[in-house]
Amino acid sequence: MTDDELVAGYLRRLKRASRTLPRPVRRELMQEIAGHIAEARAAGGEPGGDGSAALRTVLEQLGDPRDIARAAAGARAGRPGGLEITAVVLLLVGGLLGLAVGNLGFGAGLVGAIAVWLTGAVMLWASPRWRLSDKILGSLVWPGGLALPFLLASQPAQVCSSGSGATTSCTGWALPLWLGIPLAVVLVAAPLVVAIWLVHRARPRDQRDPAVPELAAR
């Protein structure tokens, strides 16, 4: 194996190990480690010859790519995320809270629901814990969180009355049961599943043993 292949293999393992990091953090980490190896090789003297043994030592001293990625994840994680928990709660039940407040007579429930949900969405996007794909998922699956199925369920049920002759007039709306029940399950389950997923993704990796401790807040 040539030196270049050795380096490429090491960086590939680091790239794989750090795939859960946010993009800018990952990019900087890759850049720094690649720079370190380049510096070490430049300082190490002539290429060729016994280069591989020297290079192996450099990579050994850098350590296991998984440890480096874990250190970066730990450094990023810090203290448990109040922001993230609040964001998930607001996204999930914020819409319901807004509706409830509206029903109590404090203004338009729908506007409140949207405002609360939007606050959650802004926090979702502001957090460095989630990757872009998580943020898109959280925003798309959740227009209103649990408020949406609640709103649908609270619509007046279909009422039909038979008029004279063959005419039947109906008010309200209804879905056939075969469609309505699965739809209701999906509408309730999707926000819950995404909530659990987001909490899982926001959890600091390896929190019991953070590789880089939090500096005392000043």
Partner: protein, 110 residues
Amino acid sequence: MNQVAQMRRGVLPYCVLAMLRHTERYGFELVRALGSVDGMVTGEGTIYPLLARLRRQGLVVTSWQESASGPPRRYYRITAAGRAALGDFMQAWAQLRDSVDELLDAEEAP
């Protein structure tokens, strides 16, 4: 052993700040200097995430500078907040070290 590793990790950020007290340094230089201190660092690569964190916390700032011998280097410089954090730590460390030494010596005496 694990306790020692944790203590080491706890003081490592301040060792980095201390190394930047008088001069700015680039990543490779810092990492090599720390790595050459006995028992200070196990994997050199884990220092880079620490450096990134110190920057996010505003304790150091970075700048790219041309190098005579290769690609540009990212230099790290301590900030006023970094100096303040280091000052607090040095005080606390001296106190803790003396207190622990006193207790350990007292235990060792016949």
